[in-house]
């Protein structure tokens, strides 16, 4: 089926129904109807539907058999000797992997089922680590088991080019990292560097946008979490989060100029926006008081944080050079950049300057950063005629306003007025934006 779009089955079913009507009404000829039918393989719909149903039945049947086998084993688990237990659980894992590889890569008869079986094999591998630890009475930190699981999963991901296996590795390793960071806040943090060295290349190798986005998120989130444990919350939201945002956004701008990785540009910018939105929002609450805080009392958290800022500043200097050379930059980028600066600068200054500004300025600047970010998104939505930016900006603004309101005012009557005003404003803004889009479409036509 040659098309440049991913065609849904629902579309094909509707098209098949409509083709008959068009032909009856004389809108298209028999030859044209036949050509369209052939192009979209409309006569295969029934057969594909049967195949899908059969596949679903196989999966349900296999799941039920698997559940029954598991129950049988569980009921007799204590009677099974340790060697037999290990043999059984390893056999389950190997069966999943081997059967999956055969169906996916060898016979290619059921690639999806095969891939699913390999993923199942990796999940069983993770469970096996826990079971073996139990059999031999090994009690260690839970994150050691998770890291072992992640290593096995990423090796399999690379071997068979499996994005779900990479996802398992990333999620499991991140959870393990959070546990490790809680126990070792002053130890050197390898995790973000490992993610950058292992998971990012995988995403590029497989050209997977979800894997790329999750890798960036894992890098930024791990630095934010580690900074939170190693220093204080304000360092986490006020320094680490903006650092991640600056780096990823600049990375996205540079990817946009590349030939092979343009598809990664927008996801990188979205991840960056999430971090600065989170950082600015958290820093905008009034409960921070940095007067008695020494964020640099323990310094290990500075290493990964500086590793975010250093390449970010290099990349942004390159971006500014291109702007000075005449390249245009979006309001989105301006909004993110200035938001990051507004959040990070006062937090850094409270610790560096002798006449340091107090928490009041962090709160003010963070709130301004929230407004700047919203403004950047909303203005960009008008320039790009894109709803996603508009609603992201408007909803974030509404969140910030209502949060401020709940923080500083508790009167029920005023709450009611503000809620109603926010709701009406949202509706009016949405309607106004849709009208604007409609006018622009009419102008373009």
């Amino acid at each position: 089926m040659k098309t440049h779009l991913k065609i849904s089955n629902r579309f094909r079913e509707l098209l098949k129904q409509e083709l008959q009507l068009w032909q009856t009404d004389g809108l298209i000829s028999t030859e044209q109807s036949s050509a369209i039918s052939q192009r979209y393989q409309l006569d295969q719909i029934a057969k594909e539907s049967t195949n899908r149903l059969l596949f679903a039945i196989y999966i349900i049947g296999a799941t039920l058999i698997g559940a029954g086998a598991t129950s049988f084993v569980a009921a007799h688990w204590e009677q099974i000797t340790p060697s037999a237990k290990i043999g059984l659980i390893v056999a389950c894992m190997l069966t999943g992997h081997i059967a999956g590889f055969y169906l996916w890569k060898v016979s290619a008869k059921s690639p999806r089922l095969g891939h699913a079986l390999i993923v199942l094999g990796t999940l069983v591998f993770g469970a096996n680590i826990g079971l073996i630890a139990q059999i031999f009475h090994i009690k260690s930190h839970f994150y050691n088991g998770l890291f072992a699981w992640a290593i096995g999963a990423i090796i399999m991901a690379y071997a068979v080019e499996s994005v779900p296996n990479a996802f398992i590795a990333m999620i499991v390793s991140f959870i393990g990292f959070c546990g490790w960071a809680g126990d070792n806040p002053q130890s050197f943090c390898y995790y973000p560097f490992v993610v950058a060295a292992v998971f990012l290349p995988f995403a590029c190798f497989c050209r997977s946008v979800p894997a790329f986005s999750l890798s960036l998120f894992a890098i930024g989130a791990s630095v934010v979490v580690y900074t939170g444990f190693g220093s204080e919350m304000i360092a986490s939201s006020g320094l680490a989060a903006p650092g991640a945002a600056l780096l990823f956004f600049a990375f996205g701008l540079l990817l946009n100029r590349s030939i092979g990785f343009k598809a990664f540009a927008f996801p990188a910018m979205v991840v960056a926006t999430v971090f600065i939105a989170f950082g600015a929002y958290l820093s905008s609450f009034h409960h921070y008081d940095v007067s008695y805080s020494n964020l640099f009392e323990h310094r290990m958290w500075l290493v990964p944080t500086i590793c975010l800022y250093a390449p970010a500043l290099l990349m942004w200097s390159f971006v500014f050079k291109t702007i000075l050379a005449g390249q245009r930059i979006s309001w989105f980028a301006i909004g993110v950049f200035f938001s990051c600066a507004l959040v990070a600068a006062p937090v850094a200054l409270t610790q560096v300057s002798v006449d340091s500004p107090d928490s009041f300025w962090i709160i003010v600047f963070s709130n301004v950063a929230c407004l700047v970010l919203s403004a950047g998104l909303i203005v960009n939505s008008f320039r790009a005629e894109d709803r996603q930016f508009f609603w992201a900006g408007v909803l974030y603004l509404a969140l910030v306003i209502t949060s401020r309101f709940f923080e500083y005012e508790t009167g029920l009557l005023i709450k009611a007025v503000v809620f109603i005003a926010c709701g009406i404003s949202l509706i009016l803004a949405g309607v106004g934006f849709e009208n604007y889009l409609k006018q622009r479409r009419m102008t373009n036509e």
Partner: protein, 174 residues
């Protein structure tokens, strides 16, 4: 053999290697180690169970009064010399901060200083109990903590692995 198959085999082998590495030391200790009996010491009666594991304390975990003991930093490795008593229970004789020479009738067990800095942990403080036996074992241990013993295997490097829990004449082996 094509490249895809080779990579797949390498990945499966890596997972099997990880699974083998998890219990490798314990298996080695169980196979090559000498069997000794250690007397357990009472632990917090309200937290005998920790998830799926029963928490065990030992008389040899308390090094106070032992020759060579001085309070160390958390995680510091120590080696403890054990000698068998007349009742078949092995007791601590001395503690060393470097691997010592082991007398003929003694056994050396390796441990590390706990977070509290005045106890030693040997990696045998947890024993997995199946769900249906958990309540029974926890109650037995709570009521007879002074009469509980653990059968442990110790290899030539001092690594230990618990094999049985014995309370009076009842043996719990999982």
């Amino acid at each position: 053999m094509n490249k895809r198959l080779i990579l797949f085999i390498v990945a499966v082998a890596a997972q099997l290697f990880i699974l083998a590495a998890v219990p490798a030391q314990k298996i080695h200790t169980r196979v090559t180690g000498k069997t000794i009996l250690l007397k357990t010491a009472p632990v917090d009666p309200y937290s005998v169970m920790s998830g799926y594991y029963v928490t065990l304390g030992y008389e040899i975990s308390n090094p106070k009064g032992l020759t060579g003991w001085k309070e160390g930093s958390e995680g510091m490795p120590v080696w403890v010399i054990l000698q068998e008593g007349s009742n078949g229970i092995w007791n601590a004789v001395s503690v060393h901060d470097k691997r010592p020479t082991v007398p003929n009738d003694c056994v050396m067990i390796k441990g590390k200083v706990s977070a509290s800095r005045w106890r030693i942990e040997y990696g045998i403080e947890s024993y997995f109990i199946p769900e249906d036996a958990r309540d029974k074992v926890a109650r037995d241990l709570r009521n007879n903590s002074r009469e509980a013993k653990a059968e442990v295997k110790v290899d030539s490097s001092g690594n230990a692995a618990i094999t049985k829990l014995i309370i009076q004449d009842r043996v719990y082996e999982y």
